[in-house]
């Protein structure tokens, strides 16, 4: 399945830059809007893997979007773009499952790195049982990756799904799904 991104920014210039870099430097499908009020309708009609949005917007701001996703038990990961100095708001956003925030101006590699991390994580999530153990743990994505790598290592070492499941506490089906999800990270 093609992975997809929704980008929302009330500043058309920033949105145009996001659009250019995502279209040219990533393989992901992209939908954009400058109007955050369109979000609920958009999100009711389809899902995305990632939402990139500005923290401060009229209508629905970044926090509103995070809350909406939380309340609706959705799996969209969120990357917030913040102005310099709104780090406190960003840390509040972490309570709602923020994946990453970028402070303007930011380097294009920072954005591409964050997008790639989200997409890798979403791909792994798609391949496992509903949310376990790779459920949203947005703040601590690093331990998550370590854990994933550790499980993969166990699988490689023992080549025995049941045993790995016992050692790691992960259901057998998840281990199998992980193996099917293919190549080494």
């Amino acid at each position: 399945m093609n992975q997809s991104i929704l980008a929302v920014d009330d500043e058309p210039h920033m949105l145009m830059l996001l659009e250019r870099i995502i279209r040219e430097r990533t393989p992901f499908e992209l939908v954009t809007t400058t109007n955050s009020l369109e979000l609920p309708n958009l999100l009711e009609s389809r899902t995305f893997d990632l939402i990139i949005c500005d923290l401060k917007m009229p209508g629905m701001d970044g926090l509103d979007i995070l809350r909406w996703i939380d309340e609706h038990n959705r799996h969209e990961a969120v990357i917030l773009i913040t102005a310099f100095g709104s780090v406190e708001d960003a840390s509040e956003a972490r309570r709602y499952g923020l994946y990453e925030y970028l402070t303007k101006p930011f380097k294009k590699e920072q954005l591409l790195g964050a997008i790639q991390a989200v997409m890798t994580w979403q791909a792994a999530r798609h391949h496992t049982e509903a949310g376990e153990p790779f459920d949203r743990d947005a703040f601590e994505s690093a331990p998550l990756h370590f854990r994933e790598a550790w499980i993969r290592r166990q699988v490689r070492l023992y080549d025995d799904h049941t045993r790995v499941a016992e050692t790691t506490g992960v259901p057998v089906r998840t281990v199998e799904a992980l193996l099917e999800s293919g190549s080494e990270p």
């Binding site: 920033m14 992209l30 303007k104 101006p105 294009k108």
Partner: protein
């Protein structure tokens, strides 16, 4: 941030009035150095952001511009404090550069009381904040260049404000907006409707109505029989946003409907989108003021677009005239194939032409609207311009480009009497790409179609998907090769997901062309019956050669891939570049040049550089001119070919000039001695002065160190303190250090800025130095090619070691100038120097 500190507290010499004067001057000097540091940081940061590695928004530009203005303004103030009234002229220079920055900024300051209407012939582009950019550009061509532009007048933004003020509309709109909790898009639509009807019900004040009618009568009298169109002319930022919506335009406006139409245009501004934008940018309703223009309609026999460069090949020396019969709208919509004239810019010779077959044309109907009609047989195959007309247009185009100093995209029309009119001009968007040069053998490919025109370069493989109207668009699969007989509105909605576009009608000068280039989608026009291309097997579109081949040829796509710069064509990057022209370039390089005067300051950097130099001269020479032998400083006696003048904060100047020379072993300033010993120990390279391009006229006039104080380095020192401004060629380094017995007070601060080489090389050099400083333990906050690093809380021994190492490093990196052509070379030098300083990986710092 470590700030320059006042060292007087650490050295306590006996009170002395001469020394007091020196010290008080020094306090201003330090304040100036601090501002200088800030200015360099801001300028370098803006330059860095312009390089395409960062994403930033308008707010960044807004803030940076405000910061550099504040900072340089303060620099000028301190300079006047330090050197007196003769530096007042810097205020004028500052104001003028500021005005040019204002001209480049897309946002407008409210212009205040103004005339209600202004004839186009009295308007220049600097009035864009008053009349809107469309009116301002027409006025500029008419008033400044005396070019043929339709007659008309502008209704100013002030009129709009006056209308709203008299009717108390701003308050009423604000209250309306404040009372609504925007949670749904529908709320925006509803409130937009309410505000628009509120505006349409408000009466136009008598004085404004009278002014508009008077202007109309005058215009109608001067142009008997003419018809007029009333249209919006958005202000500043608004016009700059390509997303800005279309506001109402009224064709063939009758005098009795004039006020009503005017009001409707003002109301049309309050679209849901505009209201959303207003709310999101904490703008006030007043910012939504707009200019309106009443302009003569040209009943065009032929019309079109003139590109003063080839938008897909800017290196070409040809300009392009695209022309259709009738009104120009049928060209930009892509409904009609244009005749195209390629004209050599140098000699105005027509070097190529294509003549289209003309079926239909768009003409003015008797009621002033437009209507499509078929072209009489005798006109179908004839070019719609004579060669002379095409050449005349080309000449006008070059004149406009020269005036604006940028490639232009110009709309023009020719009436039935053969008179040329220029309708609009704006900067031409150019696809900045290296033309792919790899030759590829296509002789084995099966050619399905050929002879197409490049609209946007590149190539793509995919399956053909024909469309003919908006209804077909939802079915367009991703990565399709979209084919259509002619472009139609709505195609933009699928631009993000298709691989290429092939059309029969149209060309580069269409809206579709502009958008395709914005999205960088390989596009060709002029392909016969593209709808009949095979759909079951993939095809390869070559948008450079204008051909479609059967089958998939990924190697061709690879070879034709344009080498695009990711962001160079984006509006916000173009804006930053436009602004940087008035901020970053340095025109004042050599203080010994006769041209090193305030009058030649053209950028913020120039003023900063000038002030820095003059502050040093004021500090050291009290403003004494070159050649004056009165010395108020000590001079360092050293074998290194550097002239260093020094002022002691704790030592009086000896009466006898012969005693004013100080041996470098007896400086009497701990930090300065430690730094200097490092510099000496490294050994000065034989070539005492790096070679620079002879294009700097000043180089010829130099006689080495005898050439005067402009080449000198300067130090202000005391027993425990130094600030050394070191000048080597075009590089400037500042080393500041305080070395006391209390390690908590101690610090070293190092700054470096250079000229000469290209920005990437300068940045590499800064990387080499900052890496070495990091390994010494410095914390650096480098921006672009401006290096700033500091370290603190060191005990006496460590201070000595590090200052010694910084001295050595200064000499080592001195001649890197032109060597750093790649990052690899820079890395090699970093490791090489690190080894010599004992800082290579795994080693303990010196």
């Amino acid at each position: 941030m470590v700030r320059f500190r006042d060292p007087r507290k650490s050295s306590r010499p006996k009170e002395d009035s001469a020394l007091d004067a020196v010290r008080s001057k020094f306090a201003a000097f330090l304040a100036l150095l601090e501002r200088h540091h800030q200015a360099m940081t801001i300028i370098s940061d803006m330059e860095e952001k312009s390089q395409g590695e960062y994403l930033f928004d308008l707010n960044y530009i807004r803030t940076s511009v405000a910061q550099i203005r504040n900072c340089v303004s303060r620099l000028v103030d301190i300079m006047i404090e330090l050197g007196g009234a003769r530096y007042q002229i810097l205020r004028d220079r500052f104001a003028e550069i500021g005005a040019r920055i204002d001209d480049s900024l897309p946002w407008c300051r409210s212009t205040g009381i103004d005339r209600f209407t202004l004839p186009l012939a009295e308007i220049g582009r600097e009035q864009a904040c008053s009349v809107g950019s469309k009116n301002a550009q027409m006025g500029e061509m008419k008033s400044k260049l005396n070019l043929p532009v339709p007659d008309g007048f502008a209704i100013t933004a002030w009129s709009c404000r006056h209308f709203r003020e008299v009717n108390d509309l701003n308050d009423r709109i604000s209250k309306r907006l404040a009372a609504v909790n925007f949670l749904e898009y529908d709320d925006l639509v509803r409130i937009s409707g309410e505000i628009q009807s509120m505006i349409n019900r408000a009466p136009i004040p008598d004085d404004l109505a009278e002014a508009i009618h008077t202007a109309y009568r005058e215009l109608a009298t001067n142009n008997p029989g003419a018809r007029f169109a009333l249209r919006s002319s958005a202000l500043g930022e608004d016009s700059w946003f390509s997303f800005a919506g279309q506001y109402a335009t009224f064709l063939n406006v009758q005098p009795e409907k004039l006020l009503e139409c005017y009001r409707e245009i003002l109301a049309s501004k309050f679209t849901p989108k505009a209201i959303y934008y207003l709310l999101s940018h904490s703008l006030v309703e007043d910012d939504l003021a707009m200019g309106v223009g009443l302009v003569e309609m040209i009943d065009a026999r032929a019309a079109g677009v003139l590109y003063t460069r080839n938008p897909v090949n800017p290196e070409s020396t040809q300009l392009q005239v695209h022309a259709v019969l009738g009104l120009g709208k049928s060209l930009v919509d892509g409904r009609c194939d244009p005749d195209v004239f390629h004209i050599d810019r140098a000699n105005m010779e027509i070097v190529g032409r294509t003549t289209a077959l003309k079926d239909i044309r768009l003409v003015m109907s008797p009621d002033g609207g437009t209507v499509e009609e078929s072209v009489p047989d005798e006109e179908r195959t004839v070019p719609c311009l004579t060669d002379d007309q095409a050449r005349r247009l080309a000449e006008l185009g070059v004149e406009i480009e020269t005036h604006y100093n940028k490639p232009q995209d110009i709309e023009w029309a020719i009436d039935h009497d053969g008179r040329i009119f220029l309708l609009q001009t704006r900067p031409l968007k150019i696809v900045s790409t290296e033309t792919p040069s790899e030759p590829i053998d296509v002789s084995g490919f099966e050619v399905l179609r050929s002879g197409g025109v490049t609209v946007c370069p590149g190539a793509a493989v995919g399956y053909v998907y024909p469309v003919s109207s908006v209804d077909d668009l939802p079915g367009v699969p991703d990565k399709a090769i979209l084919v259509t007989r002619q472009p139609f509105p709505g195609l933009v909605t699928v631009m993000g997901r298709i691989a290429a576009i092939v059309t029969e009608v149209g060309g580069p000068a269409t809206h579709l062309g502009t958008i395709a280039r914005e999205y960088r989608i390989p596009t060709i026009a002029g392909i016969d019956e593209p709808q009949t291309l095979p759909r079951k097997t993939p095809v390869t579109v070559d948008a450079i050669e204008g051909a479609v081949y059967a089958g998939a040829h990924p190697e061709l796509v690879e070879a034709r891939q344009p080498d695009y710069d990711l962001f160079a064509d984006m509006d916000i990057f173009r804006l930053l570049e436009d602004l940087l022209v008035h901020v970053a370039p340095l025109h004042l390089v050599q203080p010994a040049d006769p041209g090193f005067v305030p009058e030649n300051c053209r950028t913020m950097h120039d003023i900063t550089r000038y002030v820095h130099q003059k502050a040093i001269e004021e500090m050291f020479y009290g403003g004494i001119r070159v050649g004056d032998s009165t010395q108020v400083f000590h001079r360092l006696k050293t074998e290194v070919p550097l002239t260093v003048d020094m002022i002691y904060l704790d030592r009086e100047l000896p009466k006898s000039p012969s005693r004013r020379e100080v041996k470098d072993s007896e400086i009497g300033s701990k930090p300065m001695e430690q730094f200097w010993s490092g510099l000496m120990s490294e050994g000065w390279p034989h070539k005492s002065r790096p070679k620079y391009q002879a294009s700097f006229p000043s180089v010829l006039g130099h006689k080495g160190r005898e050439s005067g104080y402009s080449e000198n380095s300067f130090a202000v020192i005391s027993r425990e303190y130094m600030v050394l401004s070191l000048r080597m060629g075009y590089h400037f380094s500042t080393v500041e250090a305080l070395s006391t017995s209390d390690s908590n007070k101690n610090y070293i601060r190092f700054q470096h800025k250079q000229g000469g080489a290209s920005l990437p090389r300068r940045i590499r050099r800064v990387k080499v130095i900052s890496e070495l400083l990091s390994r010494l333990g410095f914390v650096h906050q480098s921006k672009g090619d401006f290096l700033s690093a500091s370290i603190g809380h060191l005990d006496g021994n460590r201070m000595a070691e590090i200052l010694h190492a910084v001295g050595r490093l200064t000499v080592m990196t001195k001649q890197l100038d032109m060597a750093l052509s790649t990052d690899q070379i820079a890395d090699w030098y970093t490791e090489e120097f690190a080894k010599r300083l004992g800082l290579a990986a795994g080693e303990n710092p010196a």
